[in-house]
């Protein structure tokens, strides 16, 4: 390499100048100081790296990993809930919700974000302010159920607003209008108190668990196991690499014994009323339908219920959150009379010739008790007593029996005990007895109280489910199955051998209630013998209600019915809160029983049609077999489709 030529004149000119000061030597000491300073500076720098890299590498390594390695939860889908025919009652749907990662949050972005996502800016700003005291990693939920437009906005603005993070979740989709809300229940984020509960020990904070109803009872079945994915993220939270992945285990589907066809009919029958309906298959204890009104919308609970919605439910004095089918503890009224009749006959206190005269009331222990029929029933035997629901007849029976014999049979029919249904928070009601009174009130039992209990009043209370179970087991000649909501659910059989003559007599009575112009004629159905019993229970004494028209003081109406009389297949109990008269409860039971029988007829016809088509297909000549063979399946499909009730 040759250096470029030098302008000799210029160089001469400048280098001719003598140095102004000969201080090169003079500066040597100072240059040395500079050198030492440089050495000190470099040692200072190296000491800094020594401190970071040699003394504390672990500390910083952990920080570096915390920066880049994140665990991402893969939510496990919850099992679906199906009806007895496999129709979906509760499903999941994928939903996206937006959270703000507060480590990247810039407050001047909020206006644009609010505009892009159609949110209220002031609301958003308030939320951000409220979260200021939270730890940085606690991200701020902004919007749930993102629309495709929202997702497009977030996707296209990710570079500008790194704080936008979309979370994918499986959300519960419950039936509309609060249908079956009490049976299904709802899910929600695990609460602080539940975290301390050993039953939920295996769940972490933030887990979405069943809170009520079937969702709670079968939470372990329905809930899957969340998976986790360890990912490497960059400074914008974009996933760069997946280190390892534990896939989610989906929850198991749960098949209920509920028949949607019956459920819908029962729901419609209770429209605009408060109360409950329970339909059981007395042969197995399977719950075919269960309704409680008023109801609530479980979809509002899906993750977090809004405080406004919660207040609305809490302020409703009708308590929509109570499952009246298993939690309403009310006096059974006249529905108790067949049990008193059974008690009288079985204990030998009365026989089938026992007759009383009903002049419209009777005096016991110095107190006058009315019959519901002012004019009186005249001469009343057991059959007429049940059919006409004569109070005076049962006052006499009860008076002869005494409380403890009545209590024994009430207990036998399952009153005063939990039925053991697979739902949380079931109530057991009260069966009064001398022992019960002594234990709870430290008082002796007064014989006058027998009179009230004999017609299902007084301290006696039951739930609609207990009523359905009691009559179901009675209709099955003393075989009580445990009511249950899931296929293959636990069923313990309780048996009692009744005297067949006594049993037939009382069943005849309940048959007469519906079919012999008794109090339950509204439950009658053509072509089938429906048996049942009405009940009207007072909410307050007659003296108190006199001259008041308050809805809450109206009598509760009951009806319990089963069908057919021989080999019963369904028992339905209806509780119509403040329904005034029992005759208003009877049609509810009738509708449900009718729906059951109609469906049975329909299915039989369908089966016959299928058999006919199948046998026709067998006779088709082989040459045209292909085209004709395809017909049956089409025909079956269309016959199903032409049954609109089969898919409500």
């Amino acid at each position: 390499m040759i250096l470029p030529p030098v302008d000799p004149n210029l160089e001469h000119q400048i280098s001719d100048k003598p140095p102004l000061r000969d201080d090169v030597r003079l500066a040597q000491g100072k240059i040395a100081i500079f050198q030492y300073s440089a050495a000190v500076i470099f040692l200072f720098l190296i000491s800094g790296f020594w401190r970071l890299q040699v003394q504390n590498p672990q500390f910083y390594d952990e920080k570096a990993q915390a920066n880049s390695i994140k665990g991402v939860i893969i939510p496990a889908p919850r099992g679906r809930i199906l009806d007895r025919d496999g129709r979906v009652i509760v499903d999941n749907h994928s939903s996206f919700s937006l959270v703000l990662a507060r480590e990247y949050l810039k407050e001047d972005h909020l206006r644009a974000i609010a505009q892009g996502l159609d949110l209220d800016y002031d609301d958003l700003m308030n939320k951000v302010r409220r979260y200021r005291s939270h730890p940085q990693w606690d991200s701020l939920p902004v919007k749930e159920e993102l629309s495709p437009a929202d997702l497009a906005f977030i996707d296209s603005h990710h570079d500008f607003f790194p704080e936008l993070v979309v979370i994918r979740a499986q959300r519960r989709l419950y039936p509309q209008n609060g249908m079956m809300a009490h049976v299904i229940g709802y899910t929600g984020e695990i609460s602080e108190t539940e975290l301390d509960d050993p039953a939920f020990a295996k769940y972490d904070a933030g887990a979405v668990i069943g809170k009520f109803g079937i969702e709670r009872e079968y939470n372990d079945t329905l809930m899957g196991v969340d998976g986790q994915r360890q990912v490497v993220v960059d400074n914008r939270g974009q996933v760069r690499d997946v280190l390892n992945e534990k896939p989610a285990v989906a929850g198991k589907d749960l098949q209920l014994t509920i028949d949607l066809d019956l459920q819908v009919v029962a729901e419609l029958a209770m429209e605009g009323k408060n109360g409950a309906v329970v339909a059981l298959d007395p042969r197995t204890g399977e719950v075919l339908a269960m309704v409680s009104r008023p109801t609530f919308d479980p979809n509002k609970f899906a993750v977090h219920i809004k405080s406004k919605d919660w207040k609305e439910i809490m302020d409703n004095k009708d308590n929509p959150m109570i499952n009246r089918a298993i939690q309403a503890q009310q006096a059974p009224g006249s529905t108790f009379k067949p049990i008193v009749a059974m008690a009288g006959l079985e204990s030998g206190t009365i026989d089938d010739t026992f007759t009383v005269h009903c002049p419209g009331g009777a005096t016991f222990y110095g107190h006058y008790y009315h019959c519901h029929l002012k004019g009186g029933h005249g001469s009343v035997g057991l059959h007429k007593g049940i059919v006409q629901s004569c109070d005076v007849f049962f006052y006499n029976v009860g008076n002869k029996l005494g409380i403890d014999k009545m209590a024994f049979y009430a207990d036998l029919f399952g009153y005063g005990h939990l039925t053991g249904i697979d739902l949380p928070h079931e109530k057991e009601g009260v069966v009064p007895s001398t022992e019960w009174k002594l234990r709870n009130f430290r008082q002796k039992w007064y014989a006058g109280e027998n009179i009230s209990v004999s017609i299902g009043q007084g301290a006696l209370t039951i739930t609609p489910l207990q009523l359905a179970r009691a009559y179901g087991g009675f209709a099955m000649d003393g075989q009580w199955h445990t009511p249950h909501l899931t296929k293959g659910g636990k069923d313990t059989l309780k048996q009692w051998a009744f005297n067949q003559k006594n049993w037939t007599e009382v069943v005849d009575g309940t048959c007469g209630v519906v079919n012999e112009g008794g109090t339950g004629v509204r439950a009658a159905l053509p072509g089938v013998t429906v048996c049942g019993k009405t009940g009207t229970s007072q909410v307050a004494s007659n003296e108190f209600t006199k001259g008041k028209s308050d809805k809450d003081l109206k009598d509760n109406a009951w009806f319990v019915g089963f069908a057919p009389r021989e080999h019963p297949e369904i028992v339905v109990a209806a509780y119509y809160e403040h329904g005034a008269e029992s005759k208003f409860a009877a049609p509810i039971v009738r509708d449900v029983i009718k729906a059951y029988l109609d469906k049975k007829v329909r299915l039989t016809a369908l089966k016959q049609e299928q058999q006919r088509l199948a046998s026709m297909a067998n006779f088709v000549p082989p040459t045209v077999g292909q085209t004709v063979a395809s017909q049956p399946s089409v025909a079956v499909q269309s016959s199903v489709a032409s049954n609109p009730e089969a898919h409500p």
Binding site: L3, V6, E11, V24, I31, F34, F49, R51, L52, R240
Partner: protein, 368 residues
């Protein structure tokens, strides 16, 4: 004799060390920009280094005295060019530091003005007739340096502005500034720092500049803002450990938790991927480089040559101290590049031009 300059007399060890640093720099730029839109930076950097070598060769062609002769003109041109960045400069990275020169290149004028400052200080101090530097002369020189420095400061570019004063302080120290003045300047600097750090400082410095200094003193106070860079840089350096995570394996660098890992924070990326061992090697290279330049100052033919070499040495030392110190969390974030290593043409070229000046002095050491 002076007319027969030989390439043999060039300070080859100095040049080789500079090229080694450049080579490590290119490798680190390659690693730090992997998979990003700046990935072309590594081969651009090679072109810049080759261009720098050519510029160094050009500088060697003329006696350094001839540059000193035109220092007035260069100074006026520098001030004019700095003013020009206000007209032509592009707002990039939040500061108006660059002027476009065509071909997609943008020159950072303030980087080249550093060389003019070195020449200016050298000539001014060499032409002094007094034994020690008097306060009046110091003030005059300070004002001369301050004019371009203030223009750079308001760009805003605090870091480069401070490099001018590094050259001034080195020169003044060598010229024999009296200790009482040194003490006075130190006191002023201290007061200035306190004022800047206090809320009053918001009237003097821009918010982000103040934030950088405050953030340095207490990085946890604002972990998302200025403190973020310091914290992430320390995490990168610390997690590198003794031997580093390996090239292209640094998570802080590759996942972009580290800000601008191929420019101002390149040493942080290097420390993460090569560990303490690599850091010691690179700092040793810089130390040897500066010591070689100081040695050239000692053998300079005249005071003005000595001042030039020492100006370059002081400038490089300041760059290393501030940049590497910032990376290790020992210095506030001022945003100046690491010479020969950080990606960027202006920085590489001005560094090679400075090496050219040192070699220029060396080549002519036997003239007198």
């Amino acid at each position: 004799m002076s007319k027969y300059l030989s390439t043999r007399d060039i300070d080859w060890p100095l040049l080789i060390i500079a090229l080694v640093i450049c080579g490590v720099g290119v490798l680190q730029i390659y690693s730090a920009t992997l998979g990003t839109s700046w990935h072309s930076s590594w081969w651009r950097q090679i072109l810049y280094v080759l261009g720098g070598l050519f510029l160094m060769w050009l500088v060697l062609a003329f006696d350094y005295h001839s540059y000193l002769h035109y220092v007035n003109a260069l100074y006026i041109a520098s001030v004019a060019a700095l003013l020009g960045t206000y007209v032509l400069g592009q707002a990039a990275f939040g500061s108006r530091r660059w002027i476009p020169v065509g071909g997609g290149l943008h020159l950072q004028v303030s980087e080249f003005v550093k060389l003019v400052i070195i020449l200016l200080v050298a000539r001014y101090l060499a032409e002094l007739k007094t034994e020690a530097l008097e306060i009046r002369e110091m003030v005059v020189l300070s004002v001369l340096v301050a004019v371009p420095a203030v223009l750079v400061l308001i760009e805003p570019d605090l870091g480069t502005c401070l490099t001018y004063f590094a050259v001034l302080v080195t020169g003044a120290f060598l010229a024999g500034l009296r200790w009482k003045y040194v003490a006075a300047i130190a006191a002023v600097a201290l007061v200035g720092f306190v004022v800047v750090a206090s809320p009053l400082g918001s009237h003097i410095l821009k918010d982000y500049q103040r934030a950088r200094i405050v953030g340095f003193m207490d990085p946890e106070r604002d972990p998302q803002g200025t403190g973020y860079q310091l914290i992430q840089s320390q995490i990168a350096v610390g997690s590198g450990g003794m031997f580093g995570k390996g090239i292209t394996k640094g998570t802080q660098t590759q996942l972009r938790f580290l800000p601008v890992p191929h420019k101002d924070f390149i040493f942080s990326a290097f420390a993460e991927e090569h560990g303490f061992v690599g850091v010691v090697f690179m700092l040793a290279a810089f130390f040897v480089m500066i010591m070689r330049i100081v040695q050239n100052a000692q053998t300079a033919p005249d005071p003005v040559g000595m001042y030039i070499c020492m100006g370059v040495a002081g400038l490089l030392l300041f760059h290393v101290l501030v940049n590497v110190g910032m990376v290790a969390g020992l210095m506030p974030v001022t945003g100046i590049p690491l010479p020969f290593m950080s990606a960027g043409g202006s920085s590489v070229w001005s560094s090679f031009l400075a090496l050219g000046l040192v070699n220029n002095v060396r080549l002519r050491r036997f003239v007198n």
